[in-house]
């Protein structure tokens, strides 16, 4: 038979709670309990407020560039909660648009603000919290996710350490999928059969570049087939769907040591960052259309139709969010200024002499002077400043 079909595949798309708050009972069964939905709605609302305050801090000169998460809270909530509940202690490997997933898994909320305030202590993750620092270089970190998953498998098989259901979830955007490293990560994870989850938040844009210019393929998730791994697409603005597909991926990772690519269909409601002005390249009608798909709106409706939420609770939540976030901002802004020694002290476990010399003389000598040359130093003190 000289001609045959070499490969065919089908990929599912899952939505449980649609934009009109219609709920698919059969798919949604056994996903999130009522109290969990309330909890996630509250968390998403708090993080939305946090996002708005971060934006204002940048605008008033109190913070550097900040990438808003607005509109994408459900993807972070559903996936982050699935990890927290079913695979606690897993590694989270973020980029920067999934703040809530990190907070749900133990990252103190002021850390993200500190990071964008130009303070490395924002990346100093507390002991016991398995989260990598925000990845500024796009698409480089999923390989670290693949390696971390490999380490979990290795420690289980070679060192007899219990895995405790732990997996590694890497977050990245649609634009990131153009970077070669992302593909190497997926191929490694699949070839080496490691418990990795790749979560692509397809928010339709990479700064000003729309998905249509980013790739020739119709979906991101179809790339999973190329690596022989499971792929699933979900409504990224639906906490139920995101929770479910992440739970399934955790199971696959634990039972079969096999990775999953999840494509969350979502939308960036804000500018790319505070340094961007999306009006330059984006049709306002498109943004408007997505505003009605906002995850907060449909989740609230879901709760209201089940008598789990009302205006009083909403008012109380808004007050709580305000109070919480202002406390967090106070903490982030109240931290003492780092000293110049900080520039040097984290370069190596043991600082080479030259770095010590640079550190200890930076305030007294111009750089590069060998302190042994006494005459020169004496002069330099007398002559300058």
């Amino acid at each position: 038979m000289p001609k045959r079909i070499a490969y065919t595949t089908e990929i599912e798309y899952i939505q449980i709670l649609d934009e009109h708050a219609n709920f698919d009972e059969s798919l949604g069964k056994g996903t999130l309990r009522d109290d969990e939905v309330v909890f996630l709605y509250e968390q998403m609302s708090i993080v939305r407020h946090y996002d708005e305050i971060a934006f204002k801090l940048q605008r008033s000169g109190r913070m550097g560039t900040y990438p808003q998460n607005k509109g994408q809270e459900a993807a972070a909530a559903g996936a982050g909660f699935a990890i927290k509940k079913n695979a606690p202690g897993s590694w989270l490997v973020p980029c920067y648009r999934e703040n809530l997933a990190l907070f749900l898994n133990g990252l103190p909320m002021e850390k993200i603000l500190l990071h964008w305030m130009g303070d490395e202590r924002g990346n100093q993750i507390p002991d016991g919290v398995n989260i990598l620092p925000i990845a500024i270089p796009i698409g480089t970190h999923p390989l670290h996710g693949a390696g971390l998953a490999w380490a979990i498998k290795y420690r289980d098989r070679v060192m007899n350490e219990s895995r405790d259901n732990r997996v590694v979830i890497s977050f990245f955007g649609d634009g990131s999928t153009s970077e070669g490293d992302v593909h190497e990560a997926m191929n490694f994870a699949s070839a080496l059969k490691v418990p990795a989850i790749f979560l692509c938040q397809n928010n339709r844009w990479a700064i000003s570049t729309p998905i249509s210019k980013q790739m020739g393929s119709e979906t991101v998730v179809q790339k999973a087939c190329a690596y022989g791994m499971h792929g699933i697409q979900a409504d990224g603005n639906d906490i139920f769907a995101m929770y479910k597909v992440t739970c399934d991926a955790i199971e696959r990772a634990n039972n079969d040591n096999m990775p999953t690519l999840i494509e969350a269909i979502t939308y960036r409601l804000g500018d790319h960052t505070t340094a961007d002005d999306a009006r330059r390249y984006r049709d306002p009608a498109e943004v408007e259309a997505w505003e009605s798909k906002d995850p907060l709106i449909r989740t609230r409706k879901y709760l209201e139709t089940r008598n789990l939420w009302d205006n009083t609770k909403q008012t109380a939540l808004e007050a709580k969010a305000k109070q919480m976030v202002s406390e967090i901002v106070k903490n982030a802004e109240g931290i003492e200024t780092p000293t110049s020694d900080d520039i040097f002290d984290y370069t190596f476990a043991n600082l080479p002499d030259e770095i010590v010399r640079q550190r200890d003389t930076m305030h007294t000598h111009s750089l590069g002077q060998n302190p042994q040359q006494e005459t020169l130093n004496a002069h330099s003190h007398a002559g300058a400043r």
Binding site: G180, D342, P352, E354, H365, L367, G383
Partner: protein
């Protein structure tokens, strides 16, 4: 003559080269409708169309590697890498391929490629948006590296880079993108690659710098004793740098200070100091001073101003050398 910022001068050079030569095209992330994240390519897509100003997928290795193919295919690509830190993913294509094709093919295949890259610190940006890696590329045989410090040179150097038969990394000091304006001729002109500029004549000491640090050097010189005559050289081309101008100056002054933002060890300051020592040894009256960044990772922005050489530190270096 119009008074232009550095950004406008680069935009003008791109416009004129694209007007003059259909082989010139721009590729990079967000260079089209958005005009680049710094607006350097503003309005160019509108003017020249989507075939000549191309928003690529988000992949620096892809940009660099395909630009090499475009160049081999008879075009004159001008590739933009959004920030110097993102030369990382493009490093293999740039250093192992763009830089080597000529040698590898005994001149049969050449890469007339210009890579535009914003460089340096001082704009309160996130990680990997503030580094000064020029020495890495100067150390790569087969690459030319330039860095203008003002709008006039920016235009002339970019035109030279685009017309150059070999790959040129064109670093744009982002801190001074809009810091000041300067008269820039409307006519096309070139600033030759490999020629430094004597910013100020002097007789007592040679101060060598490049890029945005030129401004800190000028500021430092304003605060030096009146009777100290400093000759300020703006290197303009990092490789192949203008040894003749440097040697002539140091042979005259007998003292040399080099200032730049990059980490000290293995920086271009180290290379230039060595060359000065080789060529001016008997004329030197003081050890050569380097005023540079530190041998550390560029700190996040709360500490970046302490990392960058400022006028005070440069002044201190100059005085230490002058009073030796």
């Amino acid at each position: 003559m119009a008074e232009l910022t550095l950004v406008q001068a680069i935009n003008l050079a791109l416009t004129q080269e694209m007007e003059a030569d259909q082989r010139v095209l721009i590729l990079g992330e967000d260079v089209g409708k958005n005009g680049g994240v710094f607006r350097v390519t503003e309005n160019l897509q509108e003017r020249f169309g989507e075939d000549r100003v191309v928003d690529t997928p988000l992949a620096e290795s892809g940009i660099m590697g395909s630009a090499i193919g475009l160049a081999i295919g008879g075009l004159r690509p001008v590739a933009e890498i959004q920030f110097e830190g993102f030369l990382g993913p493009a490093y293999d294509q740039l250093t192992n391929h763009a830089a080597r094709y000529r040698t590898r093919s005994r001149n049969a295949i050449t890469i007339p490629l210009t890579v535009r890259v914003p460089v340096g610190g001082g704009i309160h940006a996130p990680e990997l948006h503030s580094d000064s890696p020029e020495a890495i590329y100067a150390h790569t045989p087969g690459l030319k590296v330039v860095m203008p410090s003002n709008p006039y040179d920016a235009k002339g150097l970019l035109i030279s880079a685009i017309r150059d038969p070999d790959p040129v990394v064109y670093f744009e000091p982002k801190r001074i993108y809009r810091a000041f304006r300067q008269e820039v001729p409307e006519d096309e002109y070139t600033v030759p690659i490999g020629k430094a500029r004597i910013v100020e004549d002097g007789t007592d000491l040679t101060l060598i710098t490049w890029g945005a640090t030129t401004l800190q050097c000028i500021e430092a010189m304003d605060n030096l004793p009146e009777d100290l005559s400093v000759e300020l050289i703006d290197l303009r081309t990092i490789y192949p740098y203008d040894l003749d101008t440097i040697v002539e100056s140091v042979n005259k002054t007998g003292r040399c200070v080099i200032a730049c933002e990059a980490p000290k060890t293995g920086s271009m300051a180290a290379e230039i100091a060595t060359a000065v020592q080789e060529h001016c040894f008997l004329r030197l009256q003081a050890p050569i001073q380097r005023v540079t960044g530190f041998d550390t990772v560029m700190p996040y922005y709360k500490l970046e101003m302490q990392y960058l050489p400022d006028a005070a530190r440069i002044g201190e270096g100059v005085m230490a050398c002058a009073e030796y």
